[in-house]
Amino acid sequence: MRYFAVFVLVLLASVPYTLGPGVEQSLVTLFSLVAMATWWNLLAGFAGLTSFGQQAYLGVGAYGLYVLALAGVDPFAAIPLAAALAGVVALPVSVAVLRLSGGQFAVATWVLAEIFRLAVTLSPGGDTGVSLPGISGYMPLLRQALVYWCALGLAAGSVLAVWLLARGRYGLAARAVSADPDAAAASGVRVARIRRVAYCLAAAGAGAVGALLFTHTLYVQPGSIFNVQYSVLMMFMVLTGGLGTVEGPVAGALIFFVLQQALSAHGPWYLVLLGAVGVAVTLFAPRGLWGHLGRPLFPIAHLRET
């Protein structure tokens, strides 16, 4: 399994040399979907917190990158800094939103994304969007390849990081918290801390994706990066793939990617389908595709029930 994973990664890393820019572009989209879904799953699947506001941190990542690049930092070197910035911004925010749980937490995070969107829109020149500065030094072909490798690294790194978190002590505690916060607290788990760590890490992950998307599109607008539609996608991918598994978000991102290529021309009907599938999966197959059909490639449980 481990060798297979390394083989696939090497194969994917060679794409800029073999399959060319067209495939590269599509795969950047797929990888950012994988990373988005994986971090949303850390929050919803492991820590039991459904956020409809991760687009807030996509935006912080993108605009953080803008500010850093404006200050002269190389855009690619600035991606991790933008991610860290999103994580830091999430810390004080978590004090407010983590006083709620369930649906109330979900709506409160959404309000936060609206606050960020309005704040950026109302800042001088903010409503028209901005282009990424400092990127013109790169030749287009090299830039696209760098974006591609960053996307691949981010997707693979996200899956690996969440897997390591989920299978360790932290993951056990997080799953206890999502199953029953009171029982977890009674067993000595520091519930508030578990949730806060998940929230800040998920924010940093979303920040990295936001910064990456900016290097990919070279242009960002508050109306699009802070759009709640991103949360719809994250929810759809994680639910269909399998909530609370490491493989689920990856499978969900693949399903969504294929659906998007095949159906996005149908506009609203395609979104009706996404919503309806999300509802149906929650009600009738809550463990998602991977949870019901797949075998764990990245096991997180130490003991299997017989």
Partner: protein, 279 residues
Amino acid sequence: MIAAIVQGVLVGGTYALVACGLSLAFGVMRLVNIAHGDLAVCGAYLALMAAAGFGAPPVLALVLVLPLAFGVGALLQLTLFERALRGGELAPVLVTFGLSVVIQNLLVTGASANPRSLDGGAFALAGFEVGGLTLSWLRTAGFATAVVVLGSLHLLLARTGFGRRVRATADDPEAARLSGVRVRPVFACVAGISVATAALAGMFLGLMSTFDPYSGGLILIFAFEAVVIGGLGSLWGTLAGGIVLGVTQQLVALWDVRFAVLAVHVLFFGVLVVRPVRA
């Protein structure tokens, strides 16, 4: 200044009208209905259709829209929400969010994404003067409706047999069932009332400003903010919350109208930080 406060109070009534259904569903079924705002928008579209189809003014359209909305709410409860509520804490959030996406995009296919508004005729534009202030009939009617609806809900819950069954079920569904309350119809009625009030509020919002298939998100957020600011599970608190929202919005708009909505969101976060944690 005084005018802005009075206008804020009146607009706040309409926010409270949207919020009371959300508050009721949460209080009784522990359901945070993410699609609540979208259901309100559906109410506005239904009134629009009634006006286009039968030439009925919006107020008469209510005769048609309210029973329909009640039926839809009850049906949603019996089919989707009931099942979702059995699936743990995440399921209702995800199901109602999915429902919200479905409603929005069905509205786009059915009615296009163009902004629309309801034509309330001369009544919607007219106003009257009280103590040097000009008040719009429409906003006053919206506020009065909110007070009447909240008052009736309060009486219904506090004074009737049905209300006693609702309160018993809200406290402990199992104990209520053991005492002979038929829980399913109670929940279905509560969901029906919740959606009917949403549709009513949606109609007022549609008379006051334009709406499009995506308006539901902001309506939900405002309703939710009113509920949280007013204190969870209290109908009069919801009215107070709605009024606080409305007044904040109007006062900030005096200074700079672009910051009005932002100020409301920031206020909500402020309240979230300082209010005591729910037990």
